[in-house]
Amino acid sequence: MLPLSLLTAAQNKPMLVELKNGETLNGLLINCDNFMNITLREVYQTNPDGDRFWKLKECYIRGSTIKYLRVPDNLLDAVKDEQNRTRDANRSSRGGHTGPGRGAPRGGNFLHTI
């Protein structure tokens, strides 16, 4: 599973982001892109020592400043289920035959030879 598919699936979910300078930001993920730039809403920010707090309505975080993101545990199963569903949907939409593979059965029908 790609890290970015997990992140996109985490939209509207709460998460904890630690930056490279040790600051942490707790909030709801609003949006993200392929650089892992993200916007959070209803954010609690703490300084690296964890002794000072700020409340932010919304903030934008440049992806390159992020150390890691902590996301809800149940997101993993949600993304796996979703991937299985789309895989199965693709399978059944492509042809959807359930018979013995491709090609005609060998021999038998001698009408072909007449």
């Binding site: 150390k67 996301v71 545990d73």
Partner: protein, 95 residues
Amino acid sequence: MSLQGYTDRRVLLVLQDGRAIVGVLVGFDQKSNIVLSDCKERVYSADEGVEEIPLGLYLVKGEMVCLIGEIDEAIDSSADLSTIRAEPIPPIRYG
């Protein structure tokens, strides 16, 4: 060269800030961004046993990764973390 062989295995991840995290590798990409499930941080100390702190599901930026190694379950489960004393790994310093 790929992390593919490590997927769904328990691995040790050492970060540039010196943290050691164990967890199951469930995903990665070309930039070595890492998804770990059931993460626990192992906090080493010279005068106390190793403390394990549960962290849950983590997405770690590739730039922060120093090392990823597969854990030998047999050895790891037979080790008594509370008896292990070790200095923590210092963070990487630049310049």
